[in-house]
Amino acid sequence: MTYLALVQNGIAQGLIIGLAALSMTLVFAIARFPNAAAGDMLTFGGYAGLFAFNATGSLLATGLFAIIATALLSLAMYYAVFRRLAGRSSVSLLVASIGIGFMIRAVLGVSFGHGQLVFEIELTRPYIIGGIRVSPLDLKLALSALATLAAAFGILYMSSIGRQMRAVADNSDLARVSGIRSERVMAALWLLVGALTAVAGVMLGMATIVAPEVGWEILLPAFAAAIFGGIGSPIGAVAAGLILGVTQELSTPFVGFTYKIAVSFVVLCTVLVMRPRGLFGKAEAVR
C-alpha cells in the first residue's frame, strides 16, 4: 500500500522530469547541443501560465497561453542566438544556452520578484481508490502530461515535419542532400521544444510553486534522464524520467529522504556502465 503510494508520487514527479528531458533530448538529437536554458524556459512557461490563469481562471487557457508564449520565446532564442552559432562547437552553444538561461531567470526575477507565487487553485480532498489517495489535481496533471506526450510523439512520428526532424537527427548532411530545408526543421524543433517545456513548467507550477529558480533546480534531473534514456531518444527520455522519479521515491523507506536523489543517480550510473548508450539510445547516434 505505502509502496503504491510511493510509486504514485514517483510518477507525478517523473512525468515532469520526463517532459523536460524530452525537450532536451530533441535539441540534443537535432541541434546537437545540450540546452541548458531548458530549465529556465520551463520556469518561463510556469510564469506565462500563471499570468493567463490569473487573467482567465481557465486551465485550458492557461495551458494554451503558456505553450504559445514559451514556443515563441524558444523560436526567438533560435533566431537571435542559436541560428547564428550554427556550425560552432557544441560547447559554444552550451555556453550560449547557459547565458540565455541566466537572462530569462534574471528578467523573471526583476519582473515578478524573487518570491514564491502559486496557482491559486482551490485545493480539494482526494479520491480514495482501493485505499490509495489520488488527488484530482494530480490526475488532471497526469492526463495533460500524457496528452502532451501523445501530441509530441504524433508530431514526431506521424507528420511530415516530424519525419524531417528525425531525418536531420539521423544524418543532417544526408537530410540536406535530400532537399530537407534545415531552417524550417529547426524552427519547428524550437516551437515543439518551447511547447513541451511550457507544459512541464505549468505542471510543476500547479503541483508546487512558481519561483525564478524552479526550472534551474529541475535541470539536473532532466539532464540525467535525457542521458539515461539514451541521448536523442524521445521515448527513452520519458521512460527514464519516470524510472528516476519512481526509484527515488521507492528508495525512501530504505535510505531516507536525504539520500533519495543519490539513489536515482546510482541507478543512472549502473545503467550507463552496463549500457553506455543509455536505455533506448542507438550506439551510432551518440557522437
Binding site: I16, Q116, L123, G256
Partner: protein
C-alpha cells in the same frame, strides 16, 4: 570540431577576465567606517532580504545624518548572499579582502552564517546575524566572541514550540525539518524541550531543499497519526508541504516557524487549508520607541508594516548598536574593542536610549542601554539576544496573535 579547442580557450579566457573584475573598487578614506551588508536578496530568504538591506542603508543614513559614529561616516557595501553558503562566502571574501569592512551585518540563514563565520573570525571582522543555529554561539565557532545573534537561538525557539504544544494540550507531536542547521536546530530544540517535559515525538523526517514535491515525506509522518506537526521549514517548502497535506485529507494541527507563515502562505494555500495553523517566532519590541521609528521608515521604504519583517528590525538595530559601540570607543577601533563596547552600549544598566542620535548625546553623560526595535537587545555571554516569543494562529485567513511568552 574545427577550431573547437581554440574557441573554448578563448571563451574561458574571457570568462575568467570577466569574473576577476572587482565590482567597485572604492577609495580608501580614513574618515569612513566600511560595513558590509550581506543579506538574502534572492533564494529562500528573499521575502525578507530586501527589507533587511534597505533598513541597514536607512539606519546608516540616520547615523551619518547625526554626525557619524566617532566623527566618522558609515559606508555600507551591500552584497546578495543568495541564501546560499557558496555565494555568501564569495561575497564575504570580497567584503573582507577588497572592501576591508570592519563588520558584516545581516546574514540570515544559518548555513550562510556558519559558512561566513570562519572568514570573519580570521580577519577579525564582527559578524552580526539573524540565524538560529545553536552552533553559532559555541566556543568552537565563536571562539573570539566576534559574532552577535540578533534573532532567537533555535534551542530557544524549539523550547517555545514545546511550550505552545503543551499549552494546546497536544500529546503526539511529529517533526519535519528542512535539511540545514536552522531547520534541524529548530526541531531538535523542540525535541529536547518536549522530552524534558516527559513527552515523546512520534515520528520525524528531515527533508531535502528544492524538491518539487514532499509527498512521500508527508506520508511517512502522517502514517504515525500525529496530532500536531512541528516544522523547521522555510516559506517555499512549507507552501508545497501544506498544499500536499491538505490534499491528503488527513486532519492534523501544524506549528510552523513564523518566518514561513506569511500572508503569502495563507493566500497560496487558501484560507480553508490555512485555518488553525499555528506559528511561533521572536517578536519585535513593538511597544518601544525604537520600533516606532523603525516602523515608520520601513513603511516608507517597503510599503508594508515593519511588523511583517522582524529581521529588518534586527538589521536596523545592528547598525545602531555598532555605531553606538564605535561612538563609545571614541578613537580608532578594532574588533576586540568593539565586541566589548557592543555589550556596554546594549546591555543594562545605563540610560535607556532608542536611537543613535539619542545614544550619542547620552554617551557624553555616562553609560547607555540601547533598547532596540527588534528586542530589548541584551546580549548574553555567548552573544545571543534573549527575545520574547509570540504565538499566532490563522483565523479566517488572518494571522492573529494569541500570546507572548519567554522561553
Amino acid at each position: 570540431m574545427r577550431g573547437n579547442r581554440r574557441d573554448v580557450l578563448r571563451s574561458l579566457g574571457a570568462g575568467v577576465a570577466f569574473m576577476a573584475m572587482p565590482a567597485v573598487v572604492r577609495a580608501q578614506g580614513a574618515d569612513v567606517i566600511r560595513v558590509g551588508a550581506l543579506n538574502p536578496i534572492t533564494g529562500s530568504g528573499s521575502p525578507y532580504g530586501s527589507g533587511m538591506q534597505k533598513m541597514i542603508l536607512a539606519a546608516a543614513e540616520a547615523v551619518n545624518a547625526a554626525g557619524g559614529a566617532g566623527e566618522r561616516k558609515i559606508e555600507i557595501i551591500a552584497e546578495d548572499s543568495q541564501t546560499s553558503p557558496q555565494a555568501a562566502v564569495l561575497a564575504a571574501k570580497k567584503l573582507i579582502e577588497i572592501n576591508k569592512v570592519s563588520a558584516i551585518l545581516g546574514t540570515w540563514s544559518s548555513g550562510v552564517s556558519l559558512a561566513v563565520a570562519p572568514f570573519a573570525e580570521n580577519a577579525d571582522v564582527l559578524l552580526m546575524h539573524t540565524s538560529g543555529a545553536p552552533a553559532l554561539s559555541t566556543m568552537k565557532v565563536n571562539g573570539k566572541g566576534l559574532f552577535f545573534r540578533f534573532h532567537a537561538n533555535n534551542e530557544r525557539s524549539g523550547a517555545a514550540f514545546a511550550e505552545l504544544c503543551k499549552r494546546r494540550k497536544f500529546t503526539r507531536p511529529a517533526t519535519m525539518a528542512f535539511n540545514n542547521a536552522s531547520g534541524i536546530g529548530n526541531v531538535d530544540g523542540f525535541r529536547k524541550a518536549w522530552e524534558a517535559g516527559g513527552g515523546k515525538v512520534v515520528e520525524s523526517v528531515i527533508y531535502e531543499p528544492n524538491q518539487p514535491s514532499y509527498r512521500s515525506e508527508l506520508q511517512k509522518i502522517l502514517a504515525a497519526n500525529p496530532d500536531v506537526i512541528v516544522t523547521g521549514s522555510y516559506l517555499a517548502d512549507t507552501m508545497i508541504i501544506l498544499r500536499e497535506w491538505f490534499q491528503t485529507g488527513q486532519p492534523v494541527a501544524w506549528a510552523i516557524p513564523g518566518w514561513a507563515v506569511t500572508p503569502e502562505l495563507i493566500r497560496a494555500i487558501g484560507p480553508t487549508a490555512a485555518e488553525g495553523i499555528m506559528s511561533v517566532d521572536a517578536i519585535s519590541n513593538e511597544d518601544d520607541p525604537a520600533f516606532k521609528t523603525f516602523d515608520a521608515i520601513y513603511q516608507k521604504a517597503m510599503g508594508t508594516s515593519g511588523r511583517s519583517n522582524v529581521y529588518a528590525a534586527e538589521c536596523w538595530d545592528m547598525v545602531n548598536c555598532l555605531a553606538l559601540a564605535i561612538e563609545a570607543a571614541g578613537g580608532p577601533v578594532n574588533a576586540d574593542m568593539l565586541k566589548a563596547k557592543i555589550r556596554e552600549v546594549a546591555n543594562p544598566p545605563g540610560q535607556q536610549v532608542a536611537s543613535f542620535a539619542e545614544g550619542k548625546a547620552a554617551l557624553k553623560k555616562g553609560k547607555i542601554n540601547y533598547e532596540g526595535a527588534s528586542s530589548a537587545l541584551d546580549f548574553d555571554a555567548t552573544g545571543d539576544v534573549t527575545p520574547t516569543f509570540g504565538a499566532w494562529s490563522v483565523e479566517s485567513g488572518k494571522l492573529v496573535m494569541k500570546y507572548k511568552f519567554q522561553a
